[in-house]
Symmetry: C2
Subunit: 337 residues, 2 copies
Amino acid sequence: MNEFDFIERLRRHAEKRASAPELVRGIGDDAAVIKQFSGRDTVISADLLIENIDFRLEVNPPRLLGHKVLAVSLSDIAAMGARPRWAMLSLGVPQEVWETNFVEEFYEGFFGLADRYDVRLIGGDLSRTGEKVVVDSVVLGECASGESVSRFGARPGDCLFVTGALGGSAAGLRLLERGASLGSHEADAADIHAIQDLLMRHLRPEPRVGWGLVLGEEHLATAMIDISDGLSSDVHHLCHESNVGVKIQSASIPADPLVAGLSGRRALDPLMLALNGGEDFELLFAVSPDNISKLPTRVDGVAVTEIGEVKPAAAGILLSEGSRDWDLQPEGWMHFK
Amino acid sequence: MNEFDFIERLRRHAEKRASAPELVRGIGDDAAVIKQFSGRDTVISADLLIENIDFRLEVNPPRLLGHKVLAVSLSDIAAMGARPRWAMLSLGVPQEVWETNFVEEFYEGFFGLADRYDVRLIGGDLSRTGEKVVVDSVVLGECASGESVSRFGARPGDCLFVTGALGGSAAGLRLLERGASLGSHEADAADIHAIQDLLMRHLRPEPRVGWGLVLGEEHLATAMIDISDGLSSDVHHLCHESNVGVKIQSASIPADPLVAGLSGRRALDPLMLALNGGEDFELLFAVSPDNISKLPTRVDGVAVTEIGEVKPAAAGILLSEGSRDWDLQPEGWMHFK
């Protein structure tokens, strides 16, 4: 049983419980949604990050890690079209890490991002661990009642969009695994900036908070998910929840141009990373044709790209290359297979 | 720097941020409190539990562990005088544990307790870890606006109460460390039931949800905390937040009678465990003298005991034995010293 099957079972189990009229959305989305009887809904998301699975202390500087754990949760809240408000952070560190400046720098990175979006740290937990650092980041957001954007509202005929560029984070991870490091200048001069930028895409992702708010508050997205596992997997999640299919135009996928620019022994496959790389924390969303003209060109300097069209479920989940269509397999990140 | 000093620093750091009028209570209590503009407040708590620090797979059966991680959070919500409503659970397990029935049994225990209190699992995260199991349990509760019970409202002259009996959980842990196990019958016949009951006090604690609701909804407690670290430490937390002192009568402390009943090589010190043992998840609370007569005798079969009196801060935190008063040192659990 893989993790998605298991979560599906948990969800059915939870849904068999006594009905809860205030529960707008439970297990099965980027965040849960609770109705507050005051014209507002509360949106809440949790992300568990584990040393040597989700990050490595040798490559993730503490300050950037503090930024990233919050960014991951802000991305979930953005994917619900909601405004982030409150954070709870549970942090477990071994004694020897406690005795360094790790914790202090970690929180500096966390507060740096939190302050940009007026997100307030209101609680959490602090624990000793035996060996590894673990973090659980919980963020609460809010939106007008009934106006959160779920994964389930896409309809055939909607157009599929994605913010920013894809594959840069995975490229940064590959470069780190091949020995690149922040601030290192051993590469050819032409590549230095591209490499440093790609490392930062991985180490310090920018959640698309502004786009999430625009798409939610102006009712422009019929369904939305953030790309954390990888486009190929996350489009499957969105299609599964919406009970639709999709045809993505391969040539339209905004593969990160920095990846295409790498050459020689650093060369990587831009399209493969854009499809399956994961951790881009861009937003994937569907828009009714009537609303496409209302989409802003850029939000916070970030553009969007139309990459395909929503189809009936029977059409499947297809990647179109020239005149040929392929089944797009979910090849993104999975904890348990 | 110990963990409480660090949390105090985080709290000052967070409080320097832009003011947030909806934030009733942030870092520094059993749970944070957010005003919802609808006559209700949301109360939210997080508890991080780490394998081999907070539990051991050899001694904590998965079903009881699933119960316990939720119980710990329900206890926090009870200590705020609030009603638990929603749970988020982040669970990290290594591949080899994933392949056993651990996860299934863990959730069975979790749902067993959740159903008793109509708490609904609405989200969380599931992750692979390298070696150890980690759990972060987040519970959201609610109470009437402004009616949550904090740690900071105790006043000199209030009487100090505790629910149930203390020290049983720590005794159960000691017995486990000395080789006792659930269902084992190697002990003398007279001790078998006491030992099994003490093991269950540790492995399957009962949160005082009913007492929390009564004390909160009927405005009977001026301040409250749950006893997770141990009475000696938790009374310090309560006094620090309320800026008061306290005198506890040693003879009044409801040490678990099962502990006093142990004999021979299993004998333990009931008073020491009641003071410093931790994980009892009983409620410690202050009551104005006018309200003592309004306290129910029992809630859900559990009685309360008056153990001392709140004093001005200058009086210190004292344990009174006969005619002598001692400074009560916080000797309970601390992750980092």
